[in-house]
Subunit: 111 residues, 2 copies
């Protein structure tokens, strides 16, 4: 998914994780959390990809407060607890302020 975030300032939460195997029920929980995140104030977008070794999810937010509110949201709290108990071998969360950005789009019509 392409996150439309071309506005400043905003924040990225970089979430990298390794799952224990089998991670039964993880994909469903992740999809549910993504739907819930979209309803939070200050949510700007989400992008994720997963290889066998590593999953990366980046969510974008309008403010630090929006990040804290989402972290403390009740259903998300329960999901985080379940994640630590059942699914995650490791995770690392980095909160970063986006300072500059640029994009490239391939133009089919100028070939």
């Amino acid at each position: 998914m392409h996150a439309a975030t071309l506005m400043n300032p905003y924040f990225a939460v970089i979430f990298t994780s390794k799952l224990k195997q089998p991670a039964t029920g993880y994909a469903e929980m992740a999809a549910k959390m993504e739907q819930l995140a979209k309803q939070q104030p200050g949510y700007l977008g989400i992008e994720s990809a997963r290889d066998t070794a590593l999953g990366i999810t980046i969510s974008y937010w309008a403010s630090e407060q929006a990040i804290k509110d989402w972290k403390n949201q009740l259903e998300h709290q329960l999901a985080q607890k379940l994640g630590r108990e059942k699914w995650y071998q490791h995770y690392h969360v980095r909160v970063a302020k986006v300072e500059r950005e640029y994009e490239f789009n391939h133009m089919d019509d100028v070939l």
Copy 2:
């Protein structure tokens, strides 16, 4: 790969991309660039994952200058040009300053 970056301040370059298909030669070029990046001053680590829809690569750097130096490195410049001509449908680069972070490790020995 787990990027060991528990020091502040530092920067993350969030690179998200969509490839044209087939992307012949892309994986080899990406691996070569990762090897070159590791030799740059200020390099701290790299993490990447790719789904069919989206690839995410995050590289970590000690300073903005280190990021600029890597962007302008000669072989990397050629790879970027080739990428725009051959492989990328779209990409988005965000330079972000990591403000805080935390980790979770599952402890097998306390189960």
